[in-house]
């Protein structure tokens, strides 16, 4: 076998296909050594170790992250989000920041009789709570829908199409993979939920021309709400990704997420209304968050069971979800399932 029989170019492409730092969406071809074989020939399989340098780990991880998040804006080279999903997310985002418009108008008209406008759209405990944890419309349709749509195919598509192999055939560990998927979802959710909350607070101060004193007074409130919103994002992301990881169908995970959020809430509401016990609310992720949020922001508690139950339940939900996620990702096949 002579040297020229080995297709050097092809080999290099193959290595790039396997270990390139890009996302693998480009059309890379792995050309194997090829000759006219009509007489019959057996090729020697010479692989040469590739001794180039890997990019640093964070660069690779950033590529994964970018792939998922930028896909929301442009699917060129990024994860493809259905235009319908993009539209829905946009609508939800506009809905989430719409109080800012009201804030603007209220700042034009002053406080109104009895400070009515101020009560409705000013910075106060219940408004900050409502901006994140209000039930209608945020937690009744915005956030669950948003999470369901974003999380739907996040891991289940990889399971279905075997695209997890694209990651695991490269120097990407399962931890990196999971973390980046998690981060991507959390950032998308956070962009809508946390960002809208933060802009509400910031713009309220700007529009109303409040001073340093007001800022210092309301900052603890704001931080408590911020913590709640981050907790909300984390909880929804954990549950959603866990569901996404146990199924092969993006629709199953989306519907399952919605049914968990709505189902538990509704059952607990039914029991609460009929038997006057709020204990079942600990099953509902939303109500655990709302309970904790009410305590954090110093509002009157709507629930008669103890706060610690809600907090423990919240921790358990996250823990179980993350455990499920980890165990499912670690069993993710390198090949197509």
């Amino acid at each position: 076998m002579t040297e020229d029989l080995i297709d050097l170019d092809g080999g290099q492409t193959r290595m790039e296909a396997a270990y390139g730092s890009d996302d693998g969406d480009e059309d890379l071809f792995a050309i194997t050594a090829k000759r006219d074989a009509s007489v019959g020939e057996i090729f020697e399989q010479n692989y040469r170790p590739w001794d180039g340098d890997f990019g640093p780990r964070w660069v690779r991880n950033y590529a994964i992250f970018r792939h998922h998040v930028f896909g929301l804006f442009s699917s060129k080279g990024h994860r493809n989000y259905n235009p319908f999903i993009r539209l829905t997310i946009l609508v939800i985002f506009i809905g989430a920041i719409s109080p800012i418009a009201m804030l603007f108008f209220s700042s034009l008209f002053g406080t109104g009789p009895d400070g009515f406008i101020d009560k409705m759209w000013g910075v106060n405990r219940s408004n900050l709570w409502g901006q994140v944890l209000g039930y209608f419309p945020r937690n009744l349709c915005y956030w669950p829908l948003l999470t369901a749509l974003v999380v739907g195919g996040m891991i289940s598509d990889d399971r279905r199409n075997g695209t997890s192999a694209i990651y695991f055939s490269r120097p990407v560990t399962r931890v990196d993979y999971t973390m980046m998927k998690y981060l991507s979802v959390a950032v998308v959710l956070g962009f809508v939920i946390v960002f809208s909350y933060m802009s509400y607070y910031t713009l309220a101060i700007v529009f109303k021309g409040e001073g340093w004193g007001f800022l210092i007074d309301t900052l603890p409130m704001f931080l408590a709400g911020l913590l709640c919103s981050i907790l909300l994002v984390i909880t929804y992301t954990s549950i959603g990704l866990a569901l996404s990881s146990i199924s092969q169908s993006r629709f199953f995970s989306a519907i399952a997420f919605l049914s968990i959020i709505y189902g538990t809430k509704l059952v607990a509401l039914l029991i609460d209304l009929q038997f006057e016990t709020s204990i079942l609310y600990i099953l509902s992720p939303y109500d655990c968050l709302a309970h904790f949020g009410q305590w954090m922001l110093g509002l009157e508690l709507n629930y008669s069971h103890s706060l610690s139950l809600s907090v423990v339940s919240l921790i358990l939900m996250n823990l179980v979800s993350i455990l499920v996620l980890i165990s499912r990702v670690s069993s993710l096949e390198v090949t197509r399932e």
Binding site: N82, F84, I85, T88, L140, C141, P144, L145, A148, L149, S247, F251, F252, A254, I255, L258, S259, Y262, G263, L266, V267, L269, L270, I271, L273, Q274, F275, T277, L280
Partner: protein, 562 residues
């Protein structure tokens, strides 16, 4: 031997029997397919779990029985004098004053000097109160204890504090001086009285007992009276005033005025009730309850005078209506909104869509079966599973609750029509949503599912609104609205006195939740007849489902399958 065609098949194989067989085969295939999916079992299992959870709470609440509830709060003893409010009401004493209780000594008013009365002096041995003026004592009961809690303008003098000289406070002994220069000269001193060196007291809103001459400066006032002898009254137990004023209703719909003030708190004359006896429903009869009926004999409203029939026997009224509330709430929320919405989302969405995605549709469609039929049979297979599931689940919960539910009979047969209504409503909802999801999955195989999720959220929202405000118009654009109407209508048919219960609960403050979970059906074409609402709702959902199936068939028939 039957006749045979050229291919040797019996002519008894008519088109219809062959259709049956095809329908049977596809239905069976669908059932087996669903049965082989884990998610089906998970979803059905969660449904069973949900119903068991409800049952557990129900059984738990039945076991505790219904705690009698003191609606009017007259079993409380606010002033801690040992007598509950109800008893104090009867004796006309105050429950906000620990010295005023049945048998306590009572201040009886005898006379006064008003701000402009003449003469302005009075001599006597009295208990003086609201005393403003100059008192020249013969005798003062310095040992008497405070029989009342007085207000700021009239407080019992604590003689044990000792002398308090008016001169030291700079008050002149000329009464008119204070009146002319400083109406409220007493503001400058620490007590509500002081004594001049000549022995005369000046009183500023004081109360005390003593004999002497009282001079009231013009513009000021004073009154006097005496205390009655106290005697002992056995305190009633608090439980006597829970459920003491039951609903007095003889079911006579001709006479609208019912009710009797059993505990007498409506009729009593007392400073706590502004205008008593009470006729706040303004029917000209004091202390009664006005029951208003429409010409068909349906109850329209109950308007009670305050404190009449206000504390009914909870175990009698609440037990039954709580049971009904449970059934209605379970039917509306657990069956229609949770099972009805999520079963189709999980099971019906992929009936045809998954087949065409997987490519297994080719096997089925290469058989001599019309595509329209195919959709119908697929839906039949799905319905076979969910309908039997719903029916079994309803029957189980109906059986258990009808046995342990309140009432004399061993089994509450009157529950069953309602459960059948709930079952019917759920089945219709399952059919409607199943056909919608199936059709949407066919029209838009890629985006359809998101549409279905949005549709589900919409239905969920509208369902919640329908439960709370059934008459809102926008909710008519949802399936869940009509399904909930079916339950409302069957409840009205099976338990015609539910409207009464709801009115009673509203009028007499019974905490049963029935006012939240049940409303009379809205779409009765103005007749108030629940059968009409039932028929309209069923027809609406059926027409919708059939329309959706037809659209699905039309789409599927003209769809090119890759």
């Amino acid at each position: 031997m039957s006749k045979q065609d050229e291919q040797g098949r019996g002519l008894s194989n008519t088109v219809w029997t062959q259709l049956d067989r095809k329908a049977g085969a596809i239905t069976e295939l669908t059932i087996r397919q669903l049965r082989n999916r884990i998610s089906t079992w998970v979803v059905l299992g969660v449904g069973v779990l949900l119903i068991s959870l409800l049952l557990i709470f129900y059984i738990d609440s039945i076991r505790d029985e219904f705690e009698p509830y003191d609606n009017d709060g007259d079993s409380e003893d606010w002033d801690n004098d040992g007598y509950p409010l109800g008893q104090e009401n009867i004796y006309g004493t105050s429950d906000y004053n620990e010295f005023s209780f049945p048998g306590s000594s009572e201040y009886i008013y005898q006379g006064d000097i008003d701000w402009n009365d003449q003469p302005r002096t009075h001599y006597g041995n009295h208990t003086w109160s609201y005393a403003w003026g100059y008192f020249t004592p013969v005798w003062i009961d310095v040992n008497s204890t405070n029989p009342f809690i007085w207000n700021y303008y009239n407080s019992w003098i604590d003689w044990s504090l000792g002398d308090y000289s008016c001169e030291d406070e700079g008050l002149p002994d000329n009464p008119f001086y204070i009146g002319q220069n400083d109406d409220y000269g007493y503001n400058s001193i620490d007590r509500n009285y002081c004594q001049f060196e000549n022995g005369t007291y000046i009183m500023f809103g004081a109360a005390f007992r003593g004999e002497g001459e009282f001079f009231v400066q013009p513009g000021w006032e004073t009154e006097w009276g005496y205390f009655t002898e106290s005697f002992f009254v056995e305190p009633h137990p608090k439980s006597m005033y829970i459920d003491e004023d039951d609903i007095d209703w003889n079911g006579n719909s001709v006479s609208g005025s019912q009710g009797f003030d059993d505990d007498g708190d409506c009729l009593k004359e007392d400073y706590l009730v502004e205008s008593s006896p009470d006729d706040s429903n303004r029917n000209g009869i004091v202390c009664d309850v006005q029951w208003t009926y429409d010409p068909y004999g349906n109850l329209i409203s109950i308007r009670a005078d305050s404190n009449v029939d206000e504390d009914p026997d909870d175990s009698k009224h609440v037990g039954e209506s709580s049971h009904r509330t449970f059934i209605i709430g379970t039917g509306k929320i657990a069956f229609v909104m949770i099972l009805g919405l999520f079963l189709p989302l999980f099971l019906a969405l992929g009936l045809v869509r998954d087949e065409s995605e997987n490519g297994t549709l080719h096997y089925l469609l290469s058989k001599p079966i019309h595509r329209g039929e195919f959709i119908l049979y697929r839906l039949l297979g799905y319905l076979a599973i969910v309908v039997s599931y719903t029916v079994i689940l309803t029957f189980i919960i109906a059986f258990i609750t009808s046995i342990i539910g309140p009432g004399e009979s061993i089994i509450r047969l009157s529950d069953y029509p309602v459960w059948i209504g709930i079952s019917l409503s759920t089945i219709l909802v399952l059919t409607a949503y199943g056909s919608v999801f199936n059709t949407v999955g066919l029209i838009l195989p890629r985006y359809g599912v998101y549409l279905c999720i949005l549709f589900g959220v919409w239905e969920f929202l509208m369902g919640l609104f329908t439960i709370t405000i059934p008459s809102s118009d926008i909710t008519m654009l949802s399936i869940s609205h009509w399904a909930i109407q079916i339950i409302d209508a069957t409840v009205m048919i099976a338990w015609s006195d539910t409207a009464l219960m709801q009115q009673q609960a509203n009028a007499f403050g019974l905490e049963t939740g029935i006012s939240f979970f049940w409303h009379p059906p809205v779409h009765t074409l103005g007749t108030g007849n629940p059968f009409i609402a039932l028929i309209i709702s069923v027809v609406f959902i059926l027409v919708f489902s059939i329309g959706m199936i037809l659209i699905g068939q039309l789409i599927f028939r003209n769809k090119e399958i890759m």
